[in-house]
C-alpha cells in the first residue's frame, strides 16, 4: 500500500491551505423593491419575482 515517505513541513501544509478562499455569494437586485436578493429567488423583502408575482407579502 502506498504510504507517505516523509512528513510534510508546516510550511508546505500552510502553503496548501493558503489557497483556500471564500467566494462572495452572487447577489442581484429586486426589480420591484430595489433591495439586494439572491438571483433566481423571490425577493424576501417584498415577495415579488419578475416584477409581478406576489408570493408572500408579510408586514
Amino acid at each position: 500500500m502506498a504510504l507517505p515517505k516523509r512528513r510534510h513541513s508546516s510550511t508546505r501544509r500552510d502553503k496548501r491551505r493558503g489557497q483556500w478562499k471564500l467566494e462572495a455569494p452572487s447577489v442581484s437586485r429586486c426589480n420591484h423593491y430595489r433591495s439586494a436578493k439572491r438571483p433566481h429567488y423571490v425577493c424576501p423583502q417584498c415577495g415579488y419575482y419578475n416584477n409581478e408575482e406576489i408570493v408572500a407579502v408579510h408586514e
Binding site: R38, H40, Y41, V42, P44, Y49, E53, V55, A56
Partner: protein, 154 residues
C-alpha cells in the same frame, strides 16, 4: 454515469416516496399553491402535470387512473371540473416553481409550487377571497372588543 436514472429518490424507500408524492400532489390540487423543498417540488411537478393531462381527457378511464394517485374523490372532482378546463388550450406547463428561501435549520432550498393561472383566473380568485373576507368581517371586530374589555377591567 447517470444512465437510466429516471427520477430523484428523495432519500426515501419506494413506498415512502410514492406516498409522499401522492400527498404533495393532492395538496397542490387542494390549495393550488404549496411550499416545499425545490427537490420535492420538481418531482411533484412531473406527477401533477401528468395527472392534469389525464384530467383534460375527461373520460372514465382517465378518471380512474387519476383516482389511483390523488387522495379523495372531492379533489379528483375538482381536478376534472375546475382545474383541467383552465388548461384546455395549454399544451403542458401547467405548474410553476419559484424559489423562495433557504430553510432555517438545514439550509434546505425552499420553493413554491403553484398552478399557472391566467390574469382572468387570478382576478376571479381575488374576488372570491374578498367575498370570503367580507363574510368573515365581524370576527376581528369581536377580538378588538375583547381587548378593550380586558383593558377596562384593569
Amino acid at each position: 454515469m447517470r444512465h437510466r436514472r429516471d427520477h430523484k429518490q428523495l432519500s426515501r424507500s419506494t413506498s415512502h416516496r410514492k406516498a409522499l408524492l401522492r400527498n404533495l400532489v393532492t395538496a397542490l390540487f387542494t390549495h393550488e399553491r404549496i411550499e416545499t423543498t425545490v427537490a420535492k417540488a420538481k418531482e411533484t411537478r412531473r406527477l401533477a402535470e401528468r395527472l392534469i393531462t389525464f384530467a383534460k381527457r375527461n373520460d372514465l378511464h382517465s378518471r380512474r387512473l387519476v383516482a389511483r394517485v390523488v387522495h379523495g374523490e372531492t379533489i379528483v372532482k375538482k381536478l376534472f371540473d375546475e382545474i383541467a378546463p383552465m388548461y384546455a388550450t395549454r399544451p403542458g406547463g401547467y405548474t410553476r416553481i419559484l424559489k423562495t428561501r433557504r430553510r432555517l435549520g438545514d439550509n434546505g432550498e425552499m420553493g413554491v409550487l403553484e398552478l399557472v393561472k391566467s390574469p382572468e383566473q387570478r382576478a376571479e380568485d381575488r374576488r372570491r377571497k374578498e367575498e370570503a373576507a367580507a363574510a368573515k368581517a365581524p370576527a376581528p371586530e369581536k377580538k378588538g372588543n375583547l381587548l378593550e374589555q380586558l383593558a377596562g377591567k384593569k
